[in-house]
């Protein structure tokens, strides 16, 4: 058993005065994929946002390699690649510009090779100079996923990554996930559909 990289213990969150989850604990080692399941409104998105420190948690700790992530928020954010339920793309920028800007916004130098390989993972190479606003919902989702890959972050937080994806794109996502995990990366994904090789954590019970 590999030692845990990410340790969450006793996490509690409230939204609008309502308890979303209490005393939630789990640990994740390198190369592990955790699928968050549960009904609509069971707190999957809230948990992802709490892990990213976008939503304050009432209690509990989140540790990365033993250090509390609240102590150095910027360092923690550098470890994260985020896919929200919105794609976060700028419609007036092209596909490739969107990903390059996202890389620079993470404080990384623009790396055209990694962008090209992320684009080819999701079969976007032929679309790369199209304005994002001209793409379909599934194509936009693929661009957002390519942005996650190009972020080169150890922990991916994905909110419904399979939304709007067709069968081929789902296969591409599973391949992308497998490559990230094989390199020792971690993934936490809120999802309804099954993901390859995932451990599941069911919320709302």
């Amino acid at each position: 058993m590999m030692s845990a990289v990410l340790e969450v213990s006793g996490l509690a969150c409230r939204r609008g005065g309502r308890r979303v989850f209490d005393n939630l604990s789990f640990a994740l080692a390198g190369g592990e994929l955790l699928a968050l399941t549960g009904r609509n409104g069971s707190g999957k998105t809230t948990l992802l946002r709490a892990l990213a420190l976008l939503v304050p948690s009432l209690a509990g700790t989140i540790r990365w390699n033993g250090a509390d992530v609240h102590d150095d928020r910027e360092n923690w954010r550098a470890k994260l690649a985020w896919l929200g339920h919105l794609d976060g793309l700028k419609g007036d920028l092209t596909v490739v510009e969107n990903i390059l800007v996202a890389q620079r916004l993470r404080g990384q130098p623009a790396d055209i090779d990694s962008v090209a390989s992320a684009l080819s993972t999701f079969d976007l190479t032929t679309l790369k100079d199209r304005a994002a606003r001209t793409l379909s919902a599934g194509q936009r989702r693929r661009v957002a996923l390519a942005r996650v890959v190009a972020a080169k972050a150890p922990l991916w937080l994905l909110d419904e990554p399979l939304n709007a994806l067709d069968a081929l794109a789902q296969k591409a996502l599973n391949e992308g996930l497998a490559r990230h995990l094989a390199a020792g990366g971690l993934v936490i994904a809120a999802t309804h559909a099954p993901l390859d090789g995932a451990r599941t954590l069911e919320l709302g019970i």
Binding site: A52, G84, H85, L86, G88, L89, L93, R104, L105, G107
Partner: protein
Amino acid sequence: MGFGALFLRDLRLVWRRPGDVAVVLAFFVVATVLFPLGIGPESNLLARIAAGVLWAAALFASMLSLDRLFAADYEDGALDLLLLAPWPLELSALAKCAAHWVVMGLPLAVLAPLIGGAFGLDGKSLLVLVLTLLVGTPALSLIGGLAAALTLGARRSGALLALLALPLCVPTLIFGASAIEATATGEGFWVHLAILGALALVSLATLPWAIAAALRQAGE
């Protein structure tokens, strides 16, 4: 690095849609031109009110363009990426306000003397008008940026934004307009300009933190 990336991204987005800025600048021109039409062509009166009219119109034009400042990022999810960028959110707030100033404050400072000339302002007053706009509009971008961040997610956020920001812009308006009047009456304008600069610097030193706090709140 992240600051420059966001600043350039926003400039590029404006460049792709120049109409958004053009509409606001056209509003500025039309709004100021309405005054001579309403008041009548008495040149002494027009020259006297020119400073106030131009500054008030510049204020309205800034407000008009500010309601999309953070709302666009909020609606398409890009705000989450800014919140998760591994550098202080205050810098992001500053970068966005700086980009707003470049696409609104600067063009207003270029346009205003053309209209001021038509109002009958003399050469020195026009120069002071440009100076006050250059020094004063950064404060408008920052104050408006705070109002834009605070009204994120609100319905009818445009009206609410103006209601929040306009009172806070009053000192800038007063000293901007009075600098031009002081030039016309032969007093020195430097004191007014210095106070205007001080207002802009105080905004610069405090508001990025307030904007960042408001953005974090909106991201919850």
